[in-house]
Structures are given as structure tokens and as C-alpha cells.
């Protein structure tokens, strides 16, 4: 028995939650077809149930009531544990998002069992061994999960979300959790209107010009901005850049930013950490510009130019202008 905490947005289960459900299905198949349940709390989007059916979910455990009127990791964790106990699940999963990891950690702490964050695959079932990302994905760790329930989150893009061959009729089991005061006080107290989604252009652009640490500072983007304009494209940046406050977050490409799939991605001064690669690997053609010929972005790219982006990009811009006359 497997239970998966499913996060939702207006369209249904999030992509990463569908990835976790897909991972759960391969685990279920390896275990001889054990049933997969889902857990969700609060208001749910239309069509979620049909979507869970497509992913082979037997029962959706739906937490309702005043306790889940606002998100709290402790409340969600308590409710998931209640659903898990009711379903008799021996595996508890979520996607490796901030909330997925948070809710699972509450379950693991309550039951005093280990938890593995950001798992990408599993090996044997007895003992149950998972492989997970550590050190930002540059190292993998094989970890044993001997105790039951086995608690783990699935790293983003470890598997591709795909529905089951035969859909299931998903039933709903409601639960009304009554969490402790300690959990209730740690719920969202107020929420501001989300900032407008400015990343739309990035996700649909045919050309994306990316810049990373190599930009050197907030004033190092003139060349790449001009190149983006010359190619009718959009600027994207790495996490280093938004982390340093050089550019706004909505321009970020990667596991915690936007996933892009342009015809051309020009990655300037970006080393190509695994989180960034997760966001740009769908580009049809990748050109890396980097001083380090051994940088992952260079070795994974289709084309590369070795050198300083501040010399190369202006030269490219100049060449484009020259050819256009």
C-alpha cells in the first residue's frame, strides 16, 4: 500500500505530483501491484478526481474541515498520517517540493522513522534501497529505508509524468483531522495576492538567452539583453543570479524556476548545475558560452564557444548587426 501526498493548482495535480504518482506506479508494479492512494487537503480543483483515476489512484483521502482552511505543514502532516493509518500504507510519498518535503518530514517525525528527500530511483525492495540527490544533485546517495512506513519524496524530473495504461475509478474517503494546537498555530495567517506571472514569455519563447554567474553583477546583462532582442527572444537566468538579487526571480530557469523548451538556448556564463539543466534540457539546440571548457553546461551543450561572455556576446551582436546591414 502506497500513499502519495498530491499538491494541486488550478489545473489539477501539479506536474511534480504527477511525476510522484508515476514513480509510485513503478514501485507498485515492482511490488506486485500494490494499490496506490492519494492524499489532498482543503479545496480541490475540478477534474482532480478524473486525473487521479488516469494515474491509477484507488482512493483519494481528502482532508476537510476548519483545520485545513489554511495551509500548515504540521496540520497537513497530521492529516496525512491519519489517512496513512486508515489505509494501512507502508510507503508514504510526495514530490520533492518545499511543501512535499515539509509534510513528509512531519509524518516521519511523528512516527520516528527515517525520511529520504529527493529520491530519483529505487533499487531492491528487500532491503528497500533508494537513490537520492545530495549536494544540490552533484552527488547521489544510496539510502536504506528499512522501517515502515518508508517515507520519501521524489526529486523533480526524476521521472516523466505519464498516466497509467488503464485508468482506475478513484473513490473518495473524507477525513476531518483535529490537529493539536501546536500545529494549528503554524498555519498560514495571511496571504498576499500573487504577483503577476511574468515568466509566461520565458516558457513560450522560441529563443532564450541565459546568463549566470559569469554576468558578474547586476550591470553585466547589457550584452545578453541585446542579443535576446536581436533574436526576438527572452532573457533567462540561473539561480545564482536571482539568489544574488541581480535579476528578478521570474526570469529564473531551472528546477525551482521555469522549464523552457525553445528552438535555441544560448547559455552564457552558466556552469550548468543539475537544477539548471532540469529547466533547459528540452531546448532543441543549446549553445554554451563559458570560460571553462569542462563546465557541465559546455559538455552537455550541442555547441560551445570558450571564453568570456563579455567579449563574445558583444561580438555576436556586432556580427548580427553587420549582416543585417
Amino acid at each position: 500500500m502506497i500513499i502519495v501526498y498530491v499538491e494541486t493548482d488550478e489545473s489539477g495535480a501539479t506536474e511534480m505530483s504527477r511525476e510522484a504518482l508515476t514513480f509510485a506506479r513503478s514501485l507498485s508494479e515492482a511490488g506486485g501491484g500494490v494499490p496506490i492512494d492519494a492524499f489532498a487537503a482543503g479545496e480541490l480543483p475540478d477534474g482532480l478526481l478524473a486525473q487521479l483515476g488516469e494515474y491509477g489512484v484507488r482512493t483519494l483521502h481528502h482532508a476537510v474541515g476548519d483545520a485545513v482552511s489554511a495551509y500548515g505543514g504540521g496540520v497537513w502532516g497530521a492529516a496525512l498520517q491519519e489517512a496513512r493509518a486508515a489505509a494501512g500504507s507502508v510507503v508514504v510519498m510526495a514530490s520533492g517540493t518545499p511543501r512535499g518535503n515539509e509534510v513528509l518530514a512531519h509524518v516521519a517525525a511523528r512516527l520516528d522513522v527515517p525520511m529520504a528527500a529527493n529520491v530519483i530511483s529505487f533499487g531492491g525492495l528487500a532491503p528497500f534501497v533508494v537513490t537520492r540527490q545530495v549536494m544540490g544533485g552533484s552527488v547521489l546517495e544510496e539510502m536504506r529505508l528499512d522501517q515502515r512506513p518508508a517515507v520519501f519524496s521524489v526529486a523533480g524530473h526524476a521521472v516523466e509524468a505519464s498516466p497509467a495504461a488503464t485508468p482506475t475509478e478513484t473513490t473518495v474517503a473524507e477525513l476531518k483531522p483535529e490537529p493539536a494546537q501546536t500545529d494549528l498555530v503554524a498555519r498560514v495567517a495571511s496571504r498576499e495576492a500573487p504577483p503577476p506571472d511574468l515568466s509566461g514569455a520565458l516558457k513560450t519563447a522560441k529563443v532564450v538567452v541565459g546568463a549566470g554567474r559569469g554576468a558578474g553583477g547586476p550591470n553585466g546583462f547589457d550584452g545578453v539583453l541585446e542579443l535576446a532582442e536581436l533574436l526576438d527572444g527572452t532573457l533567462g537566468v540561473s539561480r545564482v543570479v536571482t539568489g544574488a538579487g541581480w535579476r528578478p526571480h521570474h526570469e529564473q530557469i531551472g528546477q525551482t524556476g521555469s522549464r523552457i523548451s525553445p528552438d535555441l538556448y544560448v547559455a552564457c556564463g552558466i556552469s550548468g548545475a543539475i537544477q539548471h539543466w532540469a529547466g533547459c534540457s528540452s531546448a532543441k539546440t543549446i549553445l554554451a558560452i563559458n570560460t571553462d571548457a569542462e563546465a557541465p553546461m559546455v559538455t552537455k551543450a550541442h555547441y560551445a564557444v570558450i571564453g568570456d561572455m563579455h567579449e563574445i556576446v558583444p561580438a555576436i551582436n556586432e556580427e548580427i548587426r553587420r549582416r543585417r546591414g
Partner: protein, 250 residues
Amino acid sequence: MTNVLVCVKRVPDVSGEVALTADGQGIDTGQLGFTISDHEACAVELAVRIATDTGGTATVATVGPAEAVEQLRNALAIGCTAAVHVVADTAALGPADVARGLAEVAREQDLVLLGTDAADSGDFQVGIRLAHLLDRPVVNGLSTVEVQDGTVVARGDGPEGPETFRLPPPAVVTVMEGGVEPRYPSVPGRMKAKKVPIDERRPVAAPAGPNRVAYTLPPPVSSDVQILGEGAAAAPAVVDLFERIGVLSK
């Protein structure tokens, strides 16, 4: 007055390629410096601000090897007022062990700050396990934390937009980088930090361990990259490529 505990972990400072020890049980740190994660650096900054604003204390704690005193001194240099060192071999500990190691230290404090996860082990659970041991409320992944009229106010980005949590102390908050700029230590700060006595303790229980089988490195990706040239001289070849794949409108 809010007394704050901020928890940090000594981790290898890796920005480039990582090598493993021969037995696959650790990172080869022979050539590496050590640091704390960006999340923890922000947590230290927040702890110092809260202690200053409320007239309380900011204590830094770590569970780690003897050398981790370097990370404690760095936190003292930017304004922490006391330091607790639970001396232990980090490699033999799992996240539940670290939480247990911190629990006795944290019990005396009004507010405990940690990073969301350590930069090396990426477990995403020490703060939550600690809160459960202490039976205290915990919120996660917040970028600013203040104490207003005795209430802990923590703000961060949720999946649907900016969120605010308000919780009564004693409480635990895990911090995500991005809300504050960690300050650099001043020279007088460093001098002062050298004189602060470190409260050394031993772990109270035998560790359960990390359940680690071994570390491995991800398989290298075979490179079919075509190098178009070096430096500005490669510009014509780049623009040729743009023309070939049809992204250069006339």
C-alpha cells in the same frame, strides 16, 4: 526580549566538481574549504537582528566535528553572543540524531532558527524533527523572521504567492535564503569572537545513523559538443549557426 538559537552545519564548500572518498562513505574534502549553507547564513543574520531588536541573545549551535568551531567563530564574529558545540562525527549521524543533539540546547530558547536543509545532505527535516522533540510549532522555508509585540512573524513565498505566518514563541522557523543580506564580519567582530568561550557538549544518545549505503557520482554525460571557437573570433561561426537553425530573421 527574545532569546534566539541559530543552528548551523559545517559543510564542504563545493562549487566545482566533487570527488568521493575511496570507500564511497564521504566527500573527499582534501582540497576543499568549509562553510555553512546560504540558508543558514541568512538564519544567522536574522538571529542577530532579532536579538538586537528585542534586547535578547543570539546563540549559535552546531552538531559537528572539532573543526566546526570555525563556523561557530564566524557566527560570533557577525554578532552572535554565545556558542554551543555538540561535538560529534557528522558522517555517523542522521537527521534525527542531529535534531536530538540540538534539542537539549534549544529547550532553553524562545526561538530556534535553522536553514531549510543542509547544503551537503539535503535532508529537509532537522528543523521539523527538532520541533516535534520540543513539542513546538514550526514553519518552514521563510525568508524573513521578526518578533513583533511578542509574536514571531515569518514571511516567505508560498506556491500561490507571498505568505505570512504568525506564531507564539517558543517556536521553530527554518529559513530559506533570499530575504536578507548576511553581513560580513568586522575586524573588531573577529577579535571579539576569538574570546567568547564555546560551550562544548557531548551527544546525549547513541546515534541511529544516516542509513547510508554509499555515495556515488552521477554517470558522466557523454559529450558531443561541437566547439565553435574561442573568444570573440567565434562570433561569425555563432551567427552562421543562428542562420542555419533559422532563428535569425532578416
